[in-house]
Amino acid sequence: MTKEQETELIKRIYTGDSQAENELFSQFDSRIVRKVRFSIGTNNEDWQDVVSEIQMALLNNLREGKFDVERGASLGTYVFGITMNKIRDYFKFMKKQEIMTPIQSEVHDLSVDDDPEIEGQEIRKMLRHLLEKLKIKYKEVLYLRYYEELSVAEISQKINLPPRRVSERINYAVKLLQKECEKEKLFSIFQGILIILI
């Protein structure tokens, strides 16, 4: 989003345009959800409450004109600031309740199947399919790097390939996945349009 687009969006929200509010959330929702879930624990059911609080605070502030574009900070930084404040508030609250310990241990523990985030599940489904389609040489480096958690140097020794080539191969595999993801997304949009037309 350019600076001009941001200014325009904020103005529209200030004037009570609900469409503009939807645009705001479609831009930042996935970022907020990701940050909250990674901070408080992916299996922590409170993530939805924290996200709702952030959305409410963000909307209220923008409706009341508390965000001044002229100050120089971007809208993204402003949303990030509110997100971090709310996460801190959550931890403070939980500390008071003395139930913080089990939550912290869950941080960065990604549970794949129990994920309530539908968008995330769709991405995983797509990724699973694309990973299966990769060539063996890419599967090899990805498996060793992310399943066996070997360092690039260790992989290099194991498969007898210079470390630079190992890094390149991993990056190339990720780029391939990105490219294929874009294609799949376009294809699903196209499919959706076709279904509507038929």
């Binding site: 989003m1 350019t2 930042f28 996935s30 970022r31 990701r34 940050k35 971007s74 993204g76 930084t77 949303v79 990030f80 997100t83 971090m84 960065h108 990604l110 549970s111 794949v112 199947d113 995330g120 991405i123 995983r124 990724l127 699973r128 990973l131 299966e132 063996i136 599967k139 090899e140 990805l142 498996y143 992310y146 399943y147 958690e149 991993i170 990056n171 990720v174 996945l177 990105q178 993801c181």
Partner: protein, 287 residues
Amino acid sequence: MKCELSNREQLIEDYVTGSLSQEEMDAFDEHCFNCDICFEELRLKEEMAALIKAEGKTIFSDYLAKQKVKRVGFVRSLIDKLPRLNLEWQIPQWVYAPVAVGAVAVVCFFIAKNTILPDRTGMIPQENYVVEQKETLEINEQEQLAESQQPVQKEETKHSTEKAQDKPKNVSGGAGGVDVRQLYAENFKTSPFMEEMVNSYSVRSYAITVLSPKIDENVKGNILFQWEEIEQAPIYLKILNNQAVELYSFKPENNQFLFTEKLKPGLYYWKLESEDDVLFVGKFFME
């Protein structure tokens, strides 16, 4: 919107593998709130890493199957390369008898070499040798003990040490004699388990800085165990032999302990422990 980060791929890789500090992660998160390119790439890589960690064996089953075939194929090719011997027709039966006689002769030769030959060459028999060596070492140890306890009598002790050294010169220490480590070879054998402990605990002894004895130090007579401790906690000093059997346990004070018991020549391990944790593992050689 274009991203101006030049090291984006490395940053994302470090983020996903947990190599960034919390501050660096927050800073990159803030950047991702402003940058669609980085956010999409981070999200994809994060999801991919989590998916591979959770379902890697299923997703990459074809790769794993190929690896298995490769390993089996390698072993099979090695077996195939071995010369195919058909013993029944290649080796005539009359060969077996002389081969058996030869093998018995070789065994007899080695037995004779180890038992009869030393007497013939006029060398001291092995058993007497050990006893004499042990006595010499005990004399040395007693003298060193006395030296450390009575510095005034140093000159006299030195004189007797010279005498004692003169006596075993032909049987120990010198270039022509037999090394203590050879005589007590069993006592100098390392314990793989304890070696591993030494490797890991001597490096990460963050709560303790050991001053003496150093790892692999050769010690004689009394041993001064000394260390500097960060946290004040009751500490236990334990001395173990080379088979990881605990020989002594002490509760020293003031971060040091003078060990005055006699130890046979050999490799010894020592540990410093708190109530519930091992703080340091070291080793020394008693010569």
